[in-house]
Subunit: 345 residues, 2 copies
């Protein structure tokens, strides 16, 4: 944030850990909105470092997303150079903010250590990896505060669907005493496929062909992904201090097509509901197979959509949903966080 | 905003035009959250004037909501004194902000004139009356700017459901190119009652008994209320310059029970959809009877609930809903606007 390139334009230098589809889509979004970001938000983003497992990029002066994508596309490797260890990237690249977009690992490491290192080196952090928020929220929140840095994580729950931004900006005087959501599209898709008469294995294969499930979909199927999102929400909006290991969860592995069709016949829909509730005994959470009545708002969540109901004291129940939860929406979460950090207010 | 009563507590003086159920509920909310507002937001609100058609209240030093409600409850009139004309209140009370909560009148006057007068007298304005935003958005926006004042109106569309706050804070880098919503609970309720076999007159009477329809429900039934909300949305989020008179609208007056049941039999639901769309030809709007497929998110909007889908470029379609749209939610909108104006950021 040091070299104004034009009056009123703030240069913000970014570095990235992980450069999968979210990272690429995010850079394409930066490239495509460059003019809008400068004119309306007074910002220009420059990439000065990327670290992946197999390749890297380091350029302390920084490069626009458009320029960088040009090089990435013509380069013979994924990026321009050899792999740069994450620690080295954080120490040397001189970025204003780290975008942490590595894949989820149970325990949230080494992502949480990298975030802590970024705070120490004077960076703000945006993460789309749920692990650090799910397992280390309170620790990292304190580290950010102690270092005078800021930490945002809109992309950890339901891609770019406003959740934490909504709570922070639109429900700021409310107490939130619970939530329930459909926060994993893969299991939602599999349950619908079972209802269409497919076997479980066939439903999983179908979900994989349609891009809803990864090669190893066990994190989704067995509820770990949803439990991570529940832990993120419980820690951030209910003030809990839990990890995903504390969230009881149901797997869809043993659901039969008959269960889904029986629910349908009874005018209900079998869903995996990710919930949390704060009462006098503390915070109660779960990722639970639940039959919802058909007038329940969550029953309109289909395909790649995700939805969440927040139970509040002053504003009652507020429902929010993204109708398409693709990689574009996750990339948007990163941009939204960056604008919350550096945009004009 | 002049008399700090305690370290870090900002006193904000309010005056109110209109003191119906929203005004009373808002004061009760202020009273009940007084401690929270002081501790978490550093704010204390003092009421220094209220003007209704039949009675008034003026106290330039201001009174807390709790104290004022005590007097209002024991007083022999609605308020403590004789009616104070709106112009006089605005000129003399010395408030920091005007809360404009008078009832909707076609054309938006005299509410818009009062808002303009408030800007001239150095006040920010929060309105829950749709009229000024629906008929005079651009004019008042410029007046606010010219006077260095701020104007908020979250309560004009769907009570306290985050709409304008959502766009401003959570979708700030997006272009919004359209919206569709169920924004009038009365017609939604009447259509459901028709589907249950009631005649139109019976459905209206039922809606009145249940508190969904006013004594004269024609503004709802004939789509004016929804057209006002469409104009508000089109003006604010699509950059249109229209009034409700420009919004083509369907009345539910001529809908038969058979139409509703035929739609149901075809697996669809007949709804009044309030929509707007921005394309190369400009902004197109409407309040239209529409048969929605049952997997459409808006079909879960029942009873007092309201819902809105925003079509965006970067974030796809974002759906937001309030599951209960009572007077409490409208009062919350006023509080949300006040915190956006004066809360710590």
């Amino acid at each position: 944030m040091t070299r104004p390139t034009a009056p009123h334009i703030l240069d913000v230098k970014l570095c990235m850990l992980g450069f999968g589809s979210v990272g690429r889509t995010f850079l394409a979004m930066l490239r495509d909105t460059e003019e809008r970001l400068a004119r309306e938000h007074g910002l220009r983003f420059l990439i000065c470092g990327i670290s992946t497992r197999h390749s890297g990029f380091l350029d302390a002066t920084g490069m626009t997303a458009g320029d960088l994508l040009g090089i990435v596309h013509v380069g013979r490797d994924d990026l321009c150079g050899p792999a740069v260890p994450a620690e080295e990237l954080i120490e040397t690249c001189g970025a204003d903010a780290l975008i942490e977009a590595t894949v989820l690992t149970p325990g949230g490491q080494p992502a949480a250590e990298h975030i802590e290192a970024a705070f120490r080196h004077g960076m703000d952090v945006v993460t789309v990896n749920k692990g650090p928020v799910a397992w280390h929220f309170d620790h990292l929140r304190r580290k950010a505060e102690r270092n005078g840095r800021r930490w945002r994580f809109e992309g950890t729950v339901a891609d770019g669907m406003p959740v934490f931004d909504l709570v922070e900006n639109c429900l700021r005087s409310c107490r939130i005493h619970g939530f329930e959501g459909i926060l994993n599209a893969t299991t939602n898709f599999i349950l619908e496929a079972l209802g269409d008469g497919r076997s479980f294995d066939d439903a999983v294969a179908h979900a994989q062909r349609e891009g809803f499930a990864e090669a190893d979909p066990s994190h989704d199927i067995d509820g770990l992904d949803a439990a991570c999102k529940v832990a993120c929400l419980a820690n951030v909006v209910l003030g809990a201090a839990i990890t995903p290991d504390d969230v009881p969860r149901d797997s869809v592995r043993d659901v039969t097509p008959e269960q889904v069709t029986a629910a349908r016949a009874a005018g209900r829909r079998l869903c995996v509901v990710a919930g949390g509730r704060l009462d006098d005994d503390g915070v109660h959470t779960g990722v639970r197979l639940t039959e919802l009545p058909l007038d329940h708002p969550l029953t309109t969540i289909h395909g790649s959509a995700l939805g969440l109901i927040l139970h509040t004291d002053l504003m009652g129940d507020v429902f929010t949903a993204e109708l398409h939860g693709e990689v574009q929406q996750t990339a948007y979460a990163v941009l939204a966080d960056l604008l919350a950090l550096y945009g004009r207010h």
